[in-house]
């Protein structure tokens, strides 16, 4: 399982930066059946949190209506140099994290 994030490497203090994230996941809805009629259990990513130097700046709650390999694009204010930490979690103990450094001038 892997995840990708796109965060600008540098930014001016107070600038609104755009963040793009992608995580590999099938996002099985739980509403599908096999040809034999057996229901396929739900297996989705339920949350993504983004922490900026330990403070939560964005959180998304996802439902089965989100496409496979969930893509999310959002924004945050570049306040100080540091690390943005992304954590995805979901069904069956799914947990992936990724981090990106940003230097703010």
């Amino acid at each position: 399982m892997n995840a990708r994030v796109n965060v600008p490497k540098t930014a001016k203090r107070g600038e609104v930066i755009e963040i793009k994230t992608l995580v590999a996941h099938t996002m099985e809805t739980g509403f599908r059946r096999t040809h034999l009629g057996a229901p396929i259990p739900r297996n989705i990513v339920t949350t993504l949190t983004c922490n900026y130097n330990g403070v939560e700046v964005f959180r998304a709650e996802l439902h089965p209506s989100i496409s496979a390999n969930p893509y999310l694009q959002f924004t945050t204010v570049a306040t100080e140099s540091g690390t943005l930490e992304f954590r995805w979690s979901g069904d069956n103990g799914f947990s992936v994290s990724e981090a990106a450094r940003i230097s703010v001038t």
């Binding site: 964005f58 439902h63 089965p64 496409s67 893509y71 999310l72 945050t76």
Partner: protein
């Protein structure tokens, strides 16, 4: 034996009628089939707002009007807000009318978001309305909706065993 002239004329007339019907009725083929039933979206929205009124405006929900593949539909939502410490968007909720579940996603924002704008990709099970509801820091709710025509539905197909 039927008059060939007449047969051809009636054939052309029928073909013409069919062509006009096809051109004027811009509905996807599956519109004639059983529609996916409505889910309990109004109830889900009432649960969220706890009976508070939902105003129209401030929110802008961008979705393509005609979707070929319901598995991957780009969704972009933005809200007019200064995003200051005292006046900001707390959350944006996305609902659908005909997917098996009314809830699509919830995005929790705050003054540190800088801008109230989120983009993702969603699945749509049928031609339907999608509603975005923004919850502001003063407790008010604002909404926008978009209607989409979906030709290939997501969610309900079978998997090979």
């Amino acid at each position: 034996m039927p008059n060939p002239q007449k047969t051809r004329r009636s054939f052309l007339a029928t073909a013409g009628t069919l062509a006009v019907a096809t051109l004027t009725g811009v509905k996807p083929a599956h519109a004639q089939m059983a529609r996916t039933p409505l889910n309990n979206m109004p109830e889900a929205i009432r649960t969220l707002t706890r009976g508070a009124p939902v105003n129209t405006g401030k929110v802008k929900l961008d979705l393509p009007p005609l979707v070929e593949n319901g598995h991957l539909v780009p969704l972009n939502v933005s809200v007019q807000s200064p995003m200051s410490e005292t006046d900001y968007v707390k959350a944006i909720h996305i609902f659908t009318e005909r997917n098996p579940l009314p809830e699509m996603a919830t995005f929790h924002l705050g003054p540190r978001a800088g801008r109230a704008q989120v983009a993702t990709r969603v699945r749509l099970a049928d031609t339907q309305n999608v509603v975005a509801i923004a919850e502001l820091s003063d407790g008010s709710f604002w909404s926008d909706s978009a209607h989409l025509i979906v030709t290939l539905a997501a969610c309900l197909e079978e998997l090979p065993a």
